[in-house]
């Protein structure tokens, strides 16, 4: 183990420079981000992820944000275990009927101000599952969304550049 740790110290870190701030092809903002909230939330954002019917593809890429290449935490962004500690609710999936209640409760447990980020094509408008009678057709149908990050699933780079727009520039 010592050898592995030692190598980690000797080698250059794998972390890559942050991606440029996301353009329209990557994200859509529901409205201009409220500067007052942005100042209040500051440079460190705690994110609570809720899977509301995802195929788990979006989750895989969110997980990847933690690896050495993207290293989310160096930007002050981190995933937390409870919505009560979270500034950002990151929601994936078309919002199945069975997850609607749990999603609303998670949101209600969050302190204000907060942001809601809808991740992926499913969260945007239901995606391939838009016509399903047991899905709500996206996060916007249930919660006020501040930011959409596009893709099926969005790449970790897109996720990162999307999330960075939430931080004060």
């Amino acid at each position: 183990m010592r050898k592995t740790i030692f190598q980690g110290i000797l080698h250059r870190p794998l972390s890559e420079p942050p991606p440029p701030i996301a353009g329209d092809e990557v994200i859509s903002l529901a409205r201009a981000l409220d500067r007052a909230s942005q100042r209040q939330l500051g440079r460190g954002l705690a994110i609570r992820a809720v899977d509301a019917g995802s195929c788990n593809g979006c989750e895989l890429e969110m997980h990847a944000l933690g690896n050495a290449f993207y290293d989310l935490e160096r930007f002050g962004l981190r995933f937390v275990a409870s919505p009560r500690h979270a500034d950002v609710l990151a929601v994936t999936g078309p919002v199945t009927r069975h997850m609607r209640e749990a999603l609303l409760r998670s949101y209600a447990a969050m302190p204000r101000p907060n942001w809601v980020v809808a991740i992926g094509a499913c969260a945007r408008d239901g995606g391939m599952f838009a016509k399903s009678p047991v899905c709500e057709g996206g996060v916007g149908a249930v919660l006020p969304v501040d930011l959409w990050i596009h893709g099926c699933p969005p790449t970790p780079r897109d996720l990162l550049s999307g999330l960075l727009t939430l931080l004060p520039q």
């Binding site: 509301a52 195929c55 009927r97 997850m99 749990a102 599952f129 009678p133």
Partner: protein, 457 residues
């Protein structure tokens, strides 16, 4: 004896159940004898039929889900609670009763800590020890089968690739194979090779992720940090070679939607070289870290008898002695021309499931080298004739064998049924955790890594 009765007695005599599902007034049964797949449908008289699960307990949840659809009634179903349809049972859900002095319950989920899919676990504990775990699933039920009904083949193929995102390649392959069997067409040899390259990349990426995640849950994030780097390298190579990091929609009925040129083959060969160089060090790190070994050895034991009885596939089954791998036993192309070993262990604990993944990565690297050096020249896709037909497929994903059956009518999907390997693994997790402490649940759960989305459909 009716054909149905014969099928059931074959199942009792050792054939393995693949799935049970309903389509209108018909109930379908699929099973395998060795590597050959069998399928039978019968009409349900007055919308009733004798429940398969009355004799095969592994079919209980499948038949509960079938009954939820509200069309057919399996007579004599041992557990009559709804399964995938939550509103059908009213609240609160009637969890099984547990009695005893000093027992307490811990309800967990559907929203868990971390970036995990949703499901509810009800632990009943005696102090620290779990005496019963009961899972309640269905939170991510999107009714994929309903969406596929009447859909065009291309749309249904995309839906199939989004049933469980981590297995998108295997699902797309199962769907494509079922279409190809239904229409009696064979994709070009080059396409088959490319499919196998994608499928093995998917297996390697997921196994790497799982090994890291299990060790992380055992309190050893160093392994995860290193495994995640290798996993990212696989996904990046997949992204640059096939145009999508998870290779979604890259397998299409009739062939593949992406091709490899020499440069891309070199990229993938370099990737295999890098993993082959770095992975053994990580295996040593796992093997020599006593504190981690202490967590994984003897934890979450699944008995071989139970694994066999449920016909559990994949890592979960093979780590408990269930020697089945669809690549070898159903022997679909191009695996029929490749030589590889199917590792099997019998300890059935978390450690065995980690070792099985380690060994499978080694085999997959060998397979990748083989396939990459023998890609035949030619077309990557063939025409899909507009015909009717029925077809089924069993494809080995990283999690186990994915079963898919479909019927085509006038160029559209009449019905498609998919059975994720998790259907026969989730119930076994409940058995494996018994007698373990609550704190070891994450470890056990990760080592099974069942799919919520794949199961819920």
């Amino acid at each position: 004896m009716s054909a149905w009765e014969q099928a059931l007695s074959r199942l009792e005599a050792g054939a393995v159940l693949l799935s049970v599902w309903g389509e209108g007034a018909h109930v379908h049964l699929a099973w395998r004898e060795g590597g050959s797949l069998r399928h039978l449908a019968r009409e349900a008289v007055d919308r009733e039929y004798p429940a398969v699960s009355a004799r095969m307990p592994q079919a209980i949840r499948l038949e509960r889900a079938l009954r939820d659809e509200g069309v057919l009634t399996p007579r004599g179903l041992p557990d009559s609670r709804p399964w995938l349809k939550h509103d059908a049972c009213g609240e609160p859900y009637p969890f099984l009763a547990v009695e005893g002095e000093g027992l307490h319950q811990i309800p967990v989920g559907p929203v868990h800590a971390g970036i995990i899919e949703p499901g509810h676990f009800r632990f009943t504990c005696d102090g620290e020890t779990v005496v019963r775990l009961e899972a309640r699933l269905g939170y991510v039920h999107r009714d994929v089968a309903g969406l596929m009904r009447g859909a065009d083949i291309e749309v249904a193929a995309k839906l199939a690739g989004r049933i469980s995102g981590d297995s998108t390649v295997a699902y797309a392959w199962a769907f494509a194979r079922a279409i190809e069997t239904a229409l009696a067409i064979t994709p070009p040899a080059r396409a088959l090779h490319l499919r196998a390259v994608m499928a093995e990349l998917e297996r390697v990426a997921n196994h790497l992720g799982d090994i890291g995640a299990i060790c992380n849950d055992g309190g050893f994030p160093l392994m995860q940090a290193h495994c995640a780097v290798l996993r990212e390298r696989v996904l990046r190579a997949a992204g640059s070679c096939f145009g999508h990091r998870l290779m979604m929609d890259c397998i299409v009925p009739g062939g593949v939607g992406a091709d490899l040129n020499d440069e891309k083959i070199r990229t993938l060969t370099a990737l295999i070289g890098e993993i082959a160089a770095r992975f053994p060090g990580l295996v040593r790190l796992y093997d020599l870290t006593a504190s981690l070994q202490d967590r994984t050895n003897g934890t979450g034991c699944l008995s071989p008898a139970l694994a066999r009885r449920f016909g559990a596939g994949g890592v979960v089954g093979r780590a408990s002695g269930h020697d089945f791998d669809a690549r070898r036993d159903v022997c679909y192309a191009p695996y029929d021309g490749a030589s590889f070993a199917v590792p099997v262990l019998s300890a059935g604990d978390v450690n065995a499931r980690i070792w099985l993944r380690i060994k499978e990565i080694e085999q997959s690297l060998g397979l990748l080298s083989h396939f990459l050096t023998t890609i035949p020249i030619g077309a990557t896709r063939c025409e899909i004739p507009p015909q009717d037909g029925e077809g089924m497929a069993l494809v080995e994903g990283f999690r186990g064998d994915i079963f898919l059956w479909l019927a085509l009518e006038e160029g559209k999907i009449r019905h498609c049924h998919v059975r994720d390997p998790s259907w026969f693994q989730w119930p076994l997790l409940e058995a494996a955790i018994e007698g373990n402490i609550v704190a070891d649940f994450p470890l056990c759960n990760k080592s099974f890594n069942c799919s919520y989305a794949g199961h819920d459909g």
